[in-house]
Symmetry: C2
Subunit: 427 residues, 2 copies
């Protein structure tokens, strides 16, 4: 045991949009502390911040020191942030108050579960504590359905949300075949297209027929629009029209974060009077406006002269995609282990760090089968907070195909993460 | 065996909005025919209409006579209408063409799986055939997520959609606690509020604490607005404000079909330029407009003078609620049996009829447990087509509590249908 470990309270916070597995990470940290620093008498109490730094600065906590394991197990399997979350993005003055609160409560171990904004808060607090010579160990546990954290193969929360998007697209594509028309599904992800791209996993039928084919799928969704590729309304209409002309239907997945070649958000362009949050972002989730505007645009654009407009519908998957209670088994396990790993970093005497997921086994058995493929495996490593903080990872070019599709490489990346998908039959 | 049974082809069609279990009913009819009239050599072929009456009149069929059982089993477990569906609402001339097509193809057994519009088509065709002295046996198999068919305890498709709505509300309520604000979820159901009411099953926490209590739940959703109760915008704002003032959050479920005291649709009032379908209905699904308009209304109404608007979000569950691939086990079984029962009616020599579900065991074990409650049981009966055709069943008064809630009786009615719901834990 590192004898320099400071004795005191450990706090855990959850921040940003909740996920289906963020409570796994919470419980992972608690378990890691229990078997480690708390068992050793170094951590005296384990407190959960109510609504992240907002509750911390007000001294509002859930005491998790003695919570029984049965409750923890049920909590872990419950979607959304059990401690309460926050969208506060602390400035320097706010971070001062965070540090003051930590001193007041004798906090020596600070765990923050969240995305890139949250890791930045963690970094600032860590640096501020060091500058004041207050020995507080600060650890960030990754979480985001957007999958946009640097240094990570993928992030806890993403596989479960991707599972929802894949299953929703699978089922909705069957609906689209049944009652043909043009269907647009809008998926979360302001800057990174990973979650939208997961819609491609819905192409079960074609893929099963010829799993090694790189040909463009005729199975839905036929068109996938990512924030990483400049979106052009006229080209969009032409893409849809070409498929609609051939099949009498078209199944489209669009990221809420699509933007034009100048980086201007299509949502912000089409939606008047959108709300802006504390991070300066236009509100895209919790509204069906982008999908409706795109649908109206297509109806107008694709109505033949003197003819009937095509049947166009838009659904915005909304908050259920981040908290649907059927988490990916891989995601549940990894989120739990990420929390435990953070506690182990503290036990090992690290002063700060962010937990990152590495893929150590490709998981090719997800598409090649057990006899020919290799199992999916992952491990964890520590990276500097500054390597993750306030940075955004985008879909790499090799995951993108053309301006309206994802590559086979993306499917191979994503498929092992989401857990078993149902098998559908078609006549 | 009834010796008067005409020898010929059996056709099966699927009509209206697809569901998670409509293919169970399709397979049920096929199985019922195979072991009955087809085995007896009375039914010579089993044909599936491509896109319902639309394909029938064009002579477009899937031949299901020899489809192997493995394929049928996989089809049955696949959501949406495998034969293709249609929204066509045949007039007299169209029905003539249906009858002509049936004569042309030697059809003697006509099975139509659908809702109240579809049962009306079935009735007209049946009466027309009788008037022309063409011996064709016409059977309607119930299907609708709206649960609005007369004579039925509930209809296949509803329990699975209700399961989705309940789980979505459960998960989304956890999200709402985590990041507080006002959240509106818009649920399908143009005329009947059953599916919206299923949101009440999300109140797991309160209900588990005191399952026999009739007190208004503080657990979400706190407010439920049905098409059966006149909706008043100002009263709505007051309802939300009262809960928001007390809790800093409010979780609301609203039917897409809410209407004012004059029967005018709130959706149609708020949405300009809505699309109208062949049945004369304003398009409510496949658009987030109602939710967004209600959210904008609340933001404006509940912003304190000179203050910040509350955080209001709206999600419209959209098409996934009718085809989510996690069907209620009760629903899957009943939909299959309803199809088989229709084939058995034909075998028994009935000339026409609609299959209706009766509840024969209350299913109180769903809330009282196995030791104290009774299992859920159901049976099937034949009713006249005219008893169901083009009629709409609404939420009965005993299922409604006040102007913004459902009763304990509704929960007891609905809970046994949806299958096991996950157990969530809260701190």
């Amino acid at each position: 045991m590192n004898t320099e470990l400071p004795r005191g309270v450990a706090v855990i916070g959850q921040s940003g949009g909740p996920t289906a597995v963020i409570n796994q990470s919470l419980v992972g940290v608690v378990e890691g502390l229990r078997s480690g620093l708390h068992a050793a008498g170094v951590v005296t109490k384990v407190l959960g911040m109510k609504h992240g730094v907002r509750g911390l600065t007000k001294g509002e906590f859930h005491d998790l020191t003695g919570t029984d394991q049965d409750t923890l197990d049920r909590l872990a399997a419950t979607p959304s942030a059990a401690l309460g979350s926050t969208r506060d993005k602390p400035d320097a003055a706010y971070c001062e108050r965070i540090l003051d609160a930590c001193r007041d409560h004798g906090v020596r171990y600070y765990f923050y579960i969240g995305g890139n904004d949250s890791s930045d808060t963690c970094r600032i607090v860590s640096e501020m504590a060091a500058a004041r010579a207050y020995d507080m160990r600060c650890f960030h546990v990754p979480k985001t359905v957007d999958n946009d954290l640097k240094e990570n193969d993928h992030t806890p929360g993403f596989p479960s949300a991707a599972r929802f998007v894949a299953m929703a697209c699978m089922a909705d594509f069957m609906d689209n075949i049944s009652l043909p028309g043009i269907k647009i599904n809008v998926v979360m992800g302001r800057h990174a297209g990973f979650l939208t791209a997961a819609g491609a996993l819905a192409r079960r039928y074609d893929r099963d027929l010829n799993p090694w084919s790189d040909q463009v799928s005729t199975d839905g969704p036929q068109l996938i629009y990512l924030p990483e590729v400049a979106f052009d309304l006229d080209r969009f209409a032409a893409d849809v029209e070409a498929i609609y002309a051939k099949k009498g239907r078209c199944h489209v997945v669009v990221s809420e974060g699509i933007q034009d070649k100048n980086g201007k958000s299509i949502g912000a362009t089409l939606i008047k009077g959108g709300q802006v949050d504390a991070h300066g972002n236009v509100q895209l989730s919790g509204s069906g406006a982008l999908g409706d505007q795109l649908a109206d645009f297509l109806k107008e654009k694709l109505t033949p002269a003197g003819g009937k407009p095509p049947r166009v519908r838009a659904d915005t998957f909304g908050y259920v995609q981040r908290c649907w209670p059927d988490a990916s088994p891989v995601d549940s396990r990894e989120a739990r282990r990420a929390g435990r790993f953070a506690a182990q970093l503290a036990l090992a005497g690290e002063r700060s760090g962010s937990v990152a997921i590495e893929r150590t086994g490709s998981g090719s058995e997800a598409w090649l089968g057990k006899d020919n493929g290799t199992p999916y495996l992952s491990g964890f490593k520590r990276v500097d907070l500054s390597a993750v903080a306030a940075k955004t990872r985008h879909m790499p070019p090799e995951f993108i195909q053309g301006h309206n599709n994802v590559s086979r490489a993306f499917i191979e990346y994503c498929l092992p993460l989401v857990g078993p998908l149902p098998g559908f039959e078609r006549l």
